[in-house]
Amino acid sequence: MADFSILIEPVYIATIFFFIIGLHRMSHPKTARSGIVWAGAAMLIATLVTFFTPGLTNLALIAIAIVIGGGFGYIAAKRVAMTDMPQMIALYNGMGGGAAACISAVALLAIASPVTASLAVAGGVIGAVSFSGSIIAFAKLQGWMPSRPMTFTGQQAFNMAVFILAIISGILAVMQPAWVPLSVAVYLPLFFVLSLAFGLLMTLPIGGADMPVVISMYNAFTGLAVALDGFSFATPNYAMIIAGIIVGAAGSLLTLNMAKAMNRSLSNVFFGAFGATEETGAQVAGSMKPIEADDVAVMLAYADRVIVAPGYGMAVAQAQQKVKELTDLLMSKGVTVKFAIHPVAGRMPGHMNVLLAEAGVAYEHLFDRDEINPEFPSTDVVLVIGANDTVNPAAYRQGSPLYGMPILDVEQAKNVVVLKRGSGKGFAGIENDLFYRDNTRMLYGDAQETVAKLVQALKKL
């Protein structure tokens, strides 16, 4: 085979160039689509050129592994429903972290210089934590395990102890001082087991509502682990170092932005065990007042201005198409209809926009919280479809676990109709004051069926 290894560095440089351009384009709505294509093309050539690495053996094994992993990734990602995207991102991120941890393991088995080995230990612990943590996040969002925070007494001290032991065993594996009785064959597996355990323990006490922030943070973790692993080769792999650090930095910024949008500090997310301490003192006055679909249809038909506030419940019931039908019908009757999108509606920031766009709702009808909040007082009817915590006025009450979270001020509208499956609580597990307000009516039932009924009733009017 001709020696193409001279191509590796130039191609890696081009790859990084296109990664940065791609990432930049992905941060603007108009160019976002092309951004991932640029980055994808760069990844493809980088992968191909890596086959020319000098001294590379096991080529058949590499090809088989790529087919297995790539095949799984492709099929699973094609099949998954849009509503389940967040946990898929967690899953793929975890796999990246696992790959990084494996690379560290190989580097540590080969034992090079202490500097290289130390960086490999750092990459190993971060990658392993990202792996097991992301898998727990996936399992929680997928419903394979309860999404509520799992806590026990002394949890934080216990977790910290596991973390410190992991670091110590990592250091012992690198240093191999003469006075320790056991060999690297003991410390290295111990290091990875403890690191994996720490990622698991760290994620268990985090509730489902905070998962987006957690996934985003593990995304940044994986980036960092990849960058550290880039140092573990005989010659540094700059493609891994640069791409990894860029993701680490961008991911950290994204994590902070998300936490801000949800009004949660990172320490709160990780150590607050959100929802574990439910407030008991606050009593909600009044009662929930049910209403029938036919009556709601009349309200809507004679309204001037209607705002739809969708939540994850709408997505779970697959009601987006019906909602689009309903709003089209209302618009054809001359009603002004707008969608109020809370930044964290759905399971992730921006998730709701994606789901509505999929159903064909035009971009111009979507408004974010700051744009729409002043309009609620002049709105005749607000339809809250499967949203709960994002419209809970308890966020204005001091002492509530939701206190301070920016919400949609739907309670200021003349009428509020809440479409809800039952009278249960939201994802955060907190009673919703809104449901007890005088101007609120509850329309119970599966969101898709209920909206279909509304459409039928409207057509008859």
Binding site: M26, G69, Y92, T235
Partner: protein, 102 residues
């Protein structure tokens, strides 16, 4: 990596890359948070090239096994990350009507 100057050059590059990552997405609107997280998830899939090197340069059977797992995981990260991001971003492509996926 026994060469200290090379190590320091790599640190300089890493620092500049950190600024790049920060600046490049600093003005991202909230609606793009999810696709951008997915997109950056795809980009750290470059771990695949490291995994390929780890497997390709593996000296012992144990290293081969771990390297093999690394390539499988890395390849899944890359393809899955790409497909998920692409599927999400198609929704934002307003030039053509979004069509139902099979």
């Amino acid at each position: 990596m026994n060469d200290i100057p090379v190590f320091w050059i790599a640190i300089y590059i890493a620092m500049l890359a950190a600024f790049t990552g920060y600046v490049v997405i600093s003005r991202v609107p909230v609606i793009l948070h999810t696709p951008l997280m997915s997109g950056s998830n795809f980009i750290h899939g470059v771990v695949l090239v490291g995994a390929m090197a780890a497997l390709g340069l593996a000296a012992t059977p144990l290293e081969q096994v771990i390297g093999f797992v690394a390539v499988v995981l890395g390849a899944a990260n890359v393809t899955g990350g790409y497909v998920v991001t692409e599927r999400i971003l198609v929704m934002f492509d307003r030039s053509k009507k979004p069509k139902k996926e099979a």
